[in-house]
C-alpha cells in the first residue's frame, strides 16, 4: 500500500440492487473487515469522494442520478461496479426496467462480480481501484506539469 499518496474516500450509490451488495459494502466499514485502516472512509458527499461504488444495475429512473453523482466528483476519480447486477444486470438482466450494467452509462474501471459480492472481494476491488486512481493522478500531474 506504499503507493497511496492520499486516503481515498468512497461514495456509495445503490443503483437497483437487492440490498445484498449494499450491506456488504457497509460491512466492509465495520470492525471485522475495517477498511478504515487503509484510510478509506464512506462519505455521503460526491464532492469529497475519489471512488464511486455502484451496486445494482442502472434503469431509466436512476441514470440521471448516477450521471450527476459522477459529474460532481472531482478528478481524478474511479468507478467500481460492485456485484453481478452492476457488472451485467445479473439475474435481473431480462427485467423490463433494467438497462444493464453500470458501464452502459459510466466508464467503469473495476468490476467486482458475485451475488452478493463478498466483503473480501469488495476490498480487493477497492484496492485495485486505488492503483488506477494513483495512475490517473500521475497522468493529471503530467498534463498540468506540476
Amino acid at each position: 500500500m506504499k503507493f497511496v499518496k492520499k486516503s481515498p474516500w468512497i461514495l456509495h450509490y445503490d443503483g437497483s440492487s437487492c440490498n445484498g451488495c449494499d450491506i456488504e459494502v457497509l460491512a466492509c466499514l465495520t470492525p471485522l473487515y475495517d477498511v478504515e485502516r487503509f484510510g478509506i472512509i464512506n462519505t455521503g458527499n460526491p464532492k469529497h469522494a475519489d471512488i464511486l461504488l455502484i451496486t445494482g444495475s442502472v434503469n431509466e429512473q436512476n441514470i440521471p442520478v448516477v450521471k450527476q453523482l459522477y459529474e460532481q466528483m472531482a478528478e481524478p476519480k474511479v468507478v467500481a461496479a460492485i456485484g453481478i447486477c452492476a457488472t451485467s444486470g445479473g439475474i435481473f438482466a431480462e427485467c423490463y426496467n433494467v438497462v444493464g450494467g453500470v458501464d452502459k452509462v459510466l466508464p467503469v474501471d473495476v468490476y467486482v462480480p458475485g451475488c452478493a459480492a463478498r466483503p473480501e472481494a469488495i476490498i480487493d476491488g477497492v484496492v485495485k481501484a486505488l492503483a488506477i486512481l494513483e495512475e490517473k493522478s500521475k497522468d493529471a500531474r503530467k498534463k498540468t506539469g506540476k
Partner: protein, 359 residues
C-alpha cells in the same frame, strides 16, 4: 406563519443506504408535509415470471431483498407449495423457522446499527455490526452464503443442519445474547440516545390501524399484528407472544425490535429442542395450477404473496405486497410536524427496505 421552503431529501443521502426521494415542505424548522417519490430501484421482478419457470423463480424471489432474502424465498415457496398441495417434511419446517429467526435477528441488529449511525453515534453502529457478523458466520457455516443463501426450495430445504452444528449455534447465540444485553442497554438507557428517540414521531394506535401500518411500526403503537401467530412453518408448535408497546414513538419502536431479537433467540432454542429427525425435502412433480395468498411475518412486518398458476411451467401472475410499502403512509404521517433534524431518524424508524418496496 413562516415562509415555506422545499428541501429535497435523497435519492442519494448519507443516512440512506438506498435511494428514496422526499420533498420536505418546511415552515422554518418544522416539516409541514412530505411528498415521497419512489421508483429509483424498480426492476420489474413480478413480470419476470413470464421468463423464468416457477422453480427458477425461487432464486429471483430471494433477490427481492438482500436483507430478508431467506424470508422472501420461504414465502414464495410456501405459496407454490399451497397451490400444489405439497406437505413438506417436519424437519424442513423447523429448519426454515431457524433460518427465518436468524434472519430476523441479523436484520434487527443491522437496523440498530443504522439507527445509531442516523443520530451520529458512530461507535454504537460499529459495535452492533460487530455482533451481527457472528450471525452471518452461522449462515455461512450452515448454508454457504452470507446474505443470499438459496437454501429454500419448493418442497423443503436444500441443506440439513447436523445435531452438533445446532448445539454450536445455541452456544454462539448464548454469547450473542450476552453481548446484545450490553449493547441494547445503551439504546434503552443512555440519555443522549433517549433524547433523540423518546417522544419523537408518535403514531397513535388509531392512526397506525387506519394507515395500515405493519410489523414493529404497528406493534409499537399497540396494534397486535404478528403473522407468526397463524402458525406457518413450525411457529404453531412454539411458545411465544407478539411483542407490543403502547407509546408509539421512536423509543417504543426501538424497544419492540430489541425485544424481538431476544424473542428470536428463544424461538431458535425451542426449535433446536423440538426438531425431529427425518427427510428435508419431498419430490415435486407437475406444475402449479390455481391461486393462493400467503402472509408471513418479516423483520419489517407482514408480507403478502400472491401467485396464480395456469398448469404450465410459467406462472400467470406473481404479486408481493411488502411491509415497507405498507409503512410509507404511516411514515408520512409521523413526518408531519417534526423538526428537520429528526427526519433521518424517522425515516429509519420504519426500517425502510426500498428494494422490497419497488422490486
Amino acid at each position: 406563519m413562516g415562509n415555506r421552503t422545499i428541501v429535497p431529501f435523497g435519492p442519494q443521502h448519507p443516512v440512506l443506504p438506498e435511494p428514496i426521494h422526499l420533498d420536505l415542505v418546511l415552515e422554518d424548522e418544522r416539516v409541514v408535509e412530505a411528498i415521497p417519490r419512489i421508483g429509483y430501484i424498480h426492476r420489474g421482478l413480478e413480470k419476470l415470471v413470464e421468463k423464468k419457470d416457477f422453480q427458477q423463480y425461487t432464486f429471483v424471489a430471494e433477490r427481492i431483498c438482500g436483507i430478508c432474502s431467506f424470508m422472501h424465498g420461504m414465502g414464495y415457496c410456501m405459496t407454490i407449495e399451497s397451490i400444489m398441495q405439497i406437505e413438506i417434511p417436519e424437519r424442513a419446517k423447523f429448519l426454515r423457522t431457524i433460518w427465518a429467526e436468524l434472519s430476523r435477528m441479523h436484520s434487527h441488529i443491522l437496523w440498530l446499527g443504522l439507527l445509531a449511525d442516523a443520530f451520529g453515534f458512530e461507535s454504537l453502529f460499529m459495535q452492533s455490526w460487530k455482533i451481527r457478523e457472528q450471525i452471518l458466520d452461522i449462515f455461512e457455516e450452515t448454508t454457504g452464503g452470507r446474505v443470499i443463501f438459496s437454501v429454500c426450495d419448493i418442497g423443503g430445504v436444500r441443506k440439513d443442519i447436523s445435531a452438533e452444528t445446532l448445539q454450536k449455534i445455541v452456544g454462539i447465540l448464548e454469547q450473542v445474547d450476552k453481548e446484545l444485553k450490553e449493547l441494547t442497554e445503551v439504546f434503552l438507557k443512555d440519555t443522549s440516545v433517549k433524547s433523540r428517540t423518546k417522544g419523537v414521531g408518535v403514531l397513535s394506535k388509531q392512526a397506525a390501524f387506519d394507515l395500515g401500518a405493519v410489523g414493529p411500526m404497528a406493534k409499537a403503537s399497540g396494534v397486535e399484528l404478528d403473522m407468526r401467530t397463524q402458525g406457518y412453518a413450525a411457529y404453531g408448535k412454539l411458545k411465544f407472544a407478539p411483542i407490543i408497546d403502547t407509546k408509539g414513538d421512536c423509543y417504543a419502536r426501538t424497544k419492540v425490535r430489541i425485544k424481538e431479537i431476544f424473542q428470536s433467540i428463544d424461538l431458535i432454542k425451542q426449535c433446536v429442542e423440538l426438531i425431529p429427525e427425518g427427510e428435508i425435502k419431498v419430490k415435486v412433480t407437475g406444475n402449479p395450477s390455481g391461486e393462493y395468498f400467503t402472509q408471513i411475518e418479516q423483520p419489517r412486518g407482514e408480507v403478502v404473496y400472491y401467485a396464480k398458476g395456469n398448469g404450465s411451467k410459467f406462472l400467470d401472475r406473481m404479486r408481493v405486497r411488502t411491509p415497507t410499502f405498507a409503512n410509507v403512509p404511516a411514515l408520512l404521517e409521523t413526518l408531519k410536524g417534526c423538526s428537520l433534524a429528526d427526519v433521518p431518524i424517522l425515516i429509519l424508524t420504519i426500517d425502510p427496505c426500498i428494494s422490497c418496496t419497488e422490486r
